[in-house]
Symmetry: C2
Subunit: 212 residues, 2 copies
DNA sequence: ACCTGAACACCGTTCAAGT
DNA sequence: ACCTGAACACCGTTCAAGT
């Protein structure tokens, strides 16, 4: 069970803040390891601490409770996905609506499928650790980037861009999660890219009265 | 904590199957009561049994484990919502695409908002008790009804109706859940109805190349 | 000053003992 | 035949005792 980092190579002394950050990192990695290896039911704080090579007491020095630990795990993952989506938005300024939607959808699906096992395994931790709030926080960030992108669209001027991006982001998560749960094979993912792009494009055109 | 049914009015004798069904019902109602009153964290099997007026041992005669109990709770709720959506599909045969989407979206939102507190409270139990599978099972049922409805549309002939309905159903859940979490005030719900209808109509037109 | 891990309260589940 | 609830293993969390 132990999966302690080789300690001998670490600097003998370290600023305590950096040491803390390193320990937090070790604990989070251990948590992921336990989650993937033993499943959520067996993911106890004791086991995580053991796997990280620290005592339970120490673990509770870095995280006030288990929920906080799970939340940190989920936040990291969601933030990574949100980063990619944000970059995609930034990169598609000035493009057509179709290209914009393709870019964002593809970035999102790519980020999610890059670590399918983790994306799937984090489903329960996310639910337990207030996932909706975490997702909401990151969604707002992506929502802004999405809105800013839409406003530069070459072939459409989107009204209600903020509501629209919030609805779209919430709508996209479900189908992607569904695909991940049911195996995430290449054919399914390819079809999903097309359909979710269609969902975005169609919706945005619809609420704008389909201006040419 | 006890919330035992008044037993004196019940028939002295009852066919054992019916008695079982009644006990299951009492336990499920108790579970809902505990969930709403004490929250998910405090929703222990002991407390549920106590509230239902049976022993823990008895509870485990009716449900093999806690997950199964939660699953039964979630299944009942999801089935109720699915019923409404199915009826809406049946009632909108032959209508325009716009009317169809309106009918289904409204039925879904109505069913969910009718018991906002329960819909919100069941979020965690659903996650823990294999919600995705339960939802998937019911979605397939609604998906068929949705597909059958679409094929009678007056103003469009939808291609890939089965994929489309699966994507749409998965897409709708997210935004609705989001609205429920953030208070579900009337103005927000009204806006949601319009936008989700737009999402359905726009998507279905888009993947059909917007045939007039 | 910081870490440790036995101890505590409580959980899900079982099963010997009752009726 | 069926119900009961003490007992068991394990969980999240704490804090007196160590270094």
């Amino acid at each position: 069970m132990k999966r302690v980092r080789a300690a001998s190579l670490n600097p003998r002394k370290m600023p305590s803040q950096a040491r803390s950050a390193a320990t937090v990192e070790v604990i989070l990695e251990a948590a992921i390891h336990v989650l993937l290896a033993n499943g959520f039911e067996k993911m106890s704080t004791t086991r995580i601490a053991e796997c990280a090579g620290v005592s339970v007491g120490s673990l509770y020095q870095y995280f006030p409770n288990k929920r906080a630990l799970l939340a940190a795990l989920v936040r990291r993952h969601v933030a990574r996905v949100a980063d990619r989506a944000e970059q995609a938005c930034a990169g598609a300024h000035g493009a057509t609506l179709q290209k914009m939607c393709e870019a964002v959808i593809n970035a999102f699906i790519d980020a999610k499928t890059e670590r399918v096992d983790l994306s799937r395994a984090l489903y329960l931790p996310a639910a337990l650790a207030g996932g909706p709030e975490i997702v909401k926080a990151q969604s707002e960030r992506v929502g802004k980037a999405f809105k800013a992108m839409l406003e530069t669209a070459a072939d459409i001027s989107v009204v209600q861009a903020d509501v629209a991006s919030a609805v779209l982001l919430a709508a996209i998560v479900g189908p992607v999660q569904m695909a991940l749960e049911s195996g995430a094979n290449a054919a399914l993912i390819a079809k999903l890219r097309v359909h979710l792009t269609g969902l975005c494009v169609g919706y945005l055109r619809e609420i704008n009265g389909y201006q040419q």
